[in-house]
Amino acid sequence: MLTIVHLTLVEARRRRIVVAAFLVGCAFLLVFGVGMFFIARTLERQQVPLPLRQGNVALLTTAACYAANFLVASFAILLPVDALSGAIDSGVIQTIAAKPIGRSSIVLGKWMGHWIVVAIYLLAIIGGVFVVSRAVSGYTPEDLVRILLLMLLEVTLLLSVSVAGGTRLSTVTNGVMACGFYGVAFMGGWIEQIGALTGIQSARNIGIAVSLVSPADALWRLGSYYMQPTLVRDAIQGSPFATASVPNALMVWWAGGMTLLVIAIGVRAFSRRPL
């Protein structure tokens, strides 16, 4: 399995998608840093009271994380989308699967290799947001590790769906399916938020039900909740960054279990398919 992991890392290092993603990430951090610098400096010059100043800075940091989360989630879906389906279509997989290794090693090796790249990207982008925020404005969310772990679980789930889908679906179909999986979660999250804000319980229930099918967005919202000081939580109600309905902590276990299940399904599907 380690040989497959190593190959995946070498491939990732040489693929343009990774270079492009990191360049986009750098540009993103640059824009965020410049924006944060001017906002923080102006607020300081205008002698805005400290709590309000920190609230604005926290809001901008949350907004940056919201965008960065979308960036990393897209990367987690697209990076491995052709990892197996592309290798199957091109026939590359034949010489590998004919070797004395289990097919599960191929799936798990690909999964692990891509997970390492995505985890590094997540740390680089989300960590970059926090580092820039800290350096420019002195603001750092309190529950940093928990936030990063929740986002890591979110992208791990999306990555697993993309890898597992590639064991049976063509690259394009897999991409559509994995993006749809994330899109459904995204929509469900909004329905739940609006349901909570307006007090419409049925909408909230629909959102929760969708989160059970696709818990990716719920993990982001939980992370986002921990990211925001109480002052900010009250100030941003109704905005895309609000967490009017905070997902239950059990959702984390549910998402973890679903990730393992998706990987297991992928391994089983790949083990049985003709190559």
């Binding site: 070498v10 034949q94 004919a98 070797k99």
Partner: protein, 312 residues
């Protein structure tokens, strides 16, 4: 009986009633064959006859719908047996972001090879397939022939007991084909069993000990090329050609036909030629020339496949 004796007697590859069905399509119908250890075995058939599917089943890439098969004494898919098998697929595609050396190192590691042993093996194989100079270039810069040769090196990394070569010379120039032919001869000398899938009948004729013709997923004929058939075809450039001559020639052979050059007939053995010549002279026939040749593999192929066979 010792293990060594048993391994010499047991076929390297054996299938019995092997079958593969994809939905309503039958790719391999009922395939039974046996490949002896150390022989170069040609697997011939038109496109769509089930050759590649058979190879994939033998390698554990495709699960059979029915029947049984054994490779190196183990059921197909057995991991230990796969460690002693090499494979060059028909549509060879590799990770083109890797260099030739990196590709071989990767595949060597999949065989469980490591360290100096692997590096030495890689260098030797790169030199053997004439790619030593290009070893550190990325595969995306390789020509089709170079890719095929690095693919061949990949198939030989583990010094296999059985190697499956699916169209190994299709992308090669004449020099490349000669190189592959030499490598196959070396494999035969080392006792490696080669299962060769090829459309290039001239290549098969030059390298194989035995061939099987497969049609619609069944072996319809097997032929030993090492023990060439004594049957040959004669072209008699004689005069005059009349009914009496044609009747008389039927004593010596079959498939007699009159052509623009003379008369063609098939004889069972070369030893008949002196008697035939004497008979012609004694009957006052002027003999301008007698040309004999053995039946080519292509002729065998066309005959075995029959007139109902259309291009695949």
């Amino acid at each position: 009986m010792s293990n060594a004796d048993r391994s010499q007697r047991e076929p390297a590859i054996a299938t019995h009633g092997l079958r593969k069905q994809f939905g309503p399509t039958i790719a391999v119908a009922d395939l039974s064959l046996s490949v002896h250890p150390g022989e170069i075995f040609g697997f011939l058939g038109p496109n769509g006859a089930g050759k590649s599917t058979t190879v994939k089943m033998l390698l554990g890439l495709v699960e059979p719908t029915g029947g049984t098969a054994i490779v190196l004494g183990a059921p197909i898919g057995n991991r230990a047996a796969r460690g002693r098998v090499g494979f060059l697929p028909e549509h060879f595609r590799f990770h083109d972001c890797l260099t030739g050396r990196e590709l071989l190192r990767f595949h060597g590691r999949l065989y469980g090879l490591r360290g100096t042993d692997l590096d030495v093996r890689i260098d030797a194989l790169l030199a053997r397939v004439d790619l030593f100079d290009a070893a550190d270039r990325r595969l995306r810069g390789y020509s089709k022939g170079m890719l095929q040769r690095v693919g061949l090196a990949q198939a030989l990394l583990n010094d296999p007991a059985v190697v499956f070569l699916d169209e190994p010379t299709s992308g090669l120039d004449p020099l490349g084909r000669l190189l592959v032919r030499d490598i196959m001869a070396e494999l035969r000398e080392r006792g490696t069993t080669v299962f060769l899938n090829s459309h290039l009948l001239g290549e098969v004729e030059a390298t194989c000990d035995r061939v099987a013709f497969v049609k619609q997923g069944r072996v319809v004929h097997e032929l030993s090329l090492a023990q060439a058939s004594p049957c040959m075809e004669l072209l008699l450039r004689v005069s005059p050609i009349d009914g009496g001559l044609l009747d008389g020639l039927s004593r010596f052979g079959s498939a007699i036909s009159r052509t623009a050059d003379g008369v063609r007939l098939r004889i069972a053995s070369e030893s008949i030629v002196p008697d035939l010549t004497r008979w012609l002279v004694s009957h006052g026939v002027c003999v301008f020339g007698i040309e004999g040749r053995h039946k080519s593999l292509e002729e065998w192929f066309l005959e075995v496949m029959g007139e109902d066979q259309r291009p695949g």
